[in-house]
């Protein structure tokens, strides 16, 4: 490039440390033991998340989400959490209602895609009480990938020239080989990630079916990882198809068996999302007092995830959602 190029940088806050050596120092001491990690959602949230942590949630908002962990974070009143609003929908809706979040990396928040916007999440974000830094879905995927690779950034070709860049914490750089301008996206090493999977063994070796979003990178990037699983399978099953192992045990700190654990979200090949229930949330959120009652009953005063499932139709409802997923429901 002949003329001097002005390199810009985003003006908002970077909430996490991108330093690869400090991340290595953490991972140096992370256990590699292939030990039985089966526990409960209550215990996992108590021991693996502390106030102020930066957390990430696997899946895609209301698809393959670890609902039991989200509820437990609310019940245990975890506060001042940082959150990656990466393809976030119902997961964000729960955490923001629980007043757990004080800073947000935004790619997609407050919406539930084709279902509409969350009135409560919108009120919370418009209050100005939550710190926001703007990103995009690809950017957060690549920030997580940079961490999974053990790096401090990845270059990319999106967001330059826009306000999304201006209110991010990214920086422009020049390619040392071609002179091309790139945006450098800082690595995102979350303190905590929760990912819902189809099956895993007691050590955390996991199978995931269907679109995987960013979860394979997320399991590597996060310092502490909890897996909730539709079912626990034997280690023999894992060894029969080693090519199918989506997450290996050394990434995983805790394993919790939670059948229907993505409810009210969709679990590919298992059950579809409960659209009536999600619609009910959006409706009741219009009235803050009504929503407080609803949220208290559904989550805060509920003992655990099984009680929540029973409250919302139990196995009979799950059978209906299975039929919708398998396109066999009787109209």
């Amino acid at each position: 490039m002949s003329k001097a190029v002005e390199l810009k940088q985003g003006q908002n806050q970077l909430f996490t440390d991108p330093d690869a050596d400090r991340a290595r120092e953490f991972f140096r001491h992370k256990s590699r033991a292939m030990a039985n990690k089966v526990t409960t959602a209550e215990e996992a949230v108590k021991t693996l998340i502390k106030d102020g942590d930066y957390i990430t949630i696997g899946g895609f908002g209301a698809n393959r989400i670890p609902t039991a962990i989200l509820h437990e974070i609310v019940r245990q009143k975890k506060k001042n959490l940082g959150f990656a609003g990466h393809t976030a929908t119902h997961d964000f809706q729960i955490l923001i209602a629980g007043e757990c979040i004080d800073r947000l990396d935004v790619a997609y928040i407050i919406g539930l895609e084709a279902r509409g916007l969350s009135p409560h999440a919108r009120r919370a974000v418009e209050s100005g009480n939550i710190k926001l830094t703007e990103w995009t879905n690809a950017t957060l995927s690549w920030r997580i990938k940079a961490a999974a690779m053990g790096l401090s950034f990845l270059p990319a070709r999106n967001i330059m020239g826009t306000d999304t860049f201006k209110y991010s914490a990214a920086k422009e750089i020049i390619c040392p080989f071609t002179g091309q301008k790139y945006v450098a996206h800082p690595a995102l090493y979350p303190d905590f990630a929760a990912i819902h999977v189809h099956e895993c063994d007691v050590y955390g070796n996991a199978h995931v079916y269907g679109a995987s979003v960013s979860d394979q990178d997320l399991a590597k990037a996060a310092k502490r990882v909890v897996i909730t699983t539709e079912r626990i399978i034997s280690n023999d099953k894992i060894r029969q198809h080693p090519e199918a192992t989506f997450i290996p045990f050394w990434c995983v700190d805790a394993v919790i068996e939670v059948p229907y654990g993505s409810y009210p979200g969709n679990m590919p090949y298992e059950y579809f999302s409960d659209e009536e229930y999600l619609k009910q949330w959006l409706n009741v959120e219009k009235d803050p007092a009504e929503f407080n009652k609803f949220f208290k009953k559904q989550i805060i005063d509920t003992k655990n995830f099984n009680e929540y499932l029973d409250m919302n139709g139990g196995i009979e409802q799950m059978i209906k959602l299975r039929a919708i997923e398998h396109l066999t429901e009787k109209k």
Partner: protein
């Protein structure tokens, strides 16, 4: 002439712009309907992708989420978000569709906020999601939208996704891939493209029932006009039949 509503017209026009053998990343709603209609008419081998990882599904129903199981039902691949976005960045994705609350004369789009204080917005929207990525990295971006002077505005509050930025070569000078950018803005009143040099929005077709005054009155900036403006070819009988009977029989989208 067949009877149709503005949404049906926009979907039919969008579908005609998706040629056989091309690739397109779509969201839920009208873009997904346009891609399905194209596949069922002139573009059987159009490859449809969803940003959560689904590639070339045989859609049994309209997805409600770009990551739900329908988006990879009997698909070629159930991949990942980085896989889809990197395919775009590599130059293998021809088309995408965006939505938004505001658009300016260069096709820059706002889906983040209304107001002038980012920390305390008057109205907050979901943000980019994958929109900025797809607008940055796919070859041609299209938009289907109702047209009014508030939505088509001189100065948008926040550039979430890049159009041609400030026109001319500014998009490429900013570092975005060469040859990419907004291609067609399809409204209830007209079809717009972008002028070669200035990169300003330019009317190329007028929809049945509207005239130049309607189109300019419902736009907050000065539109350019193509030398030879033609009437939009209205939806054909077979397009409407397939759209209504096969693509969206529940009228989730065309009933809006």
């Amino acid at each position: 002439m067949a009877d149709y509503n503005p949404m049906e017209l926009m979907i039919c026009v969008a579908a005609r712009n998706l040629e056989d053998g091309a690739t397109v990343v779509v969201g839920t709603g009208a873009p997904c309907a346009a891609a399905m209609l194209a596949q069922k008419t002139h573009s059987p081998s159009l490859t449809v992708m969803f940003e959560a990882g689904g590639v070339a599904p045989i859609l049994p129903a309209m997805p409600i989420s770009v990551g739900d199981s329908r988006t990879f039902h009997r698909a070629i691949m159930a991949s990942s978000m980085p896989e889809i976005m990197e395919t775009c960045q590599r130059g293998m994705v021809d088309y995408t569709f965006l939505g938004g609350a505001q658009i300016d004369m260069y096709g820059n789009i706002n889906s983040t906020m209304i107001g002038d204080n980012h920390a305390k917005p008057k109205v907050r929207f979901p943000g980019s999601g994958g929109a900025n990525d797809l607008a940055s990295l796919c070859w041609r971006m299209m938009m289907m939208t109702p047209q009014d002077a508030k939505r088509f505005t001189e100065k948008i509050n926040f550039i979430t996704s890049p159009g041609y930025l400030t026109g001319g070569n500014s998009r490429y000078d900013a570092g975005l891939p060469k040859g990419t950018g907004p291609y067609r803005i399809i409204t209830n009143m007209a079809i717009m493209g972008f002028e070669e040099e200035s990169k300003r929005m330019k009317v190329i077709n007028i929809n049945p029932g509207y005239n130049r005054k309607d189109i300019q009155d419902n736009c907050g900036f000065e539109l350019l006009w193509a030398d030879k403006i033609t009437d939009t070819d209205p939806p054909h009988e077979n397009e409407l039949r397939i759209l209504r009977e096969e693509v969206d029989p529940q009228r989730y989208i065309i009933g809006r």
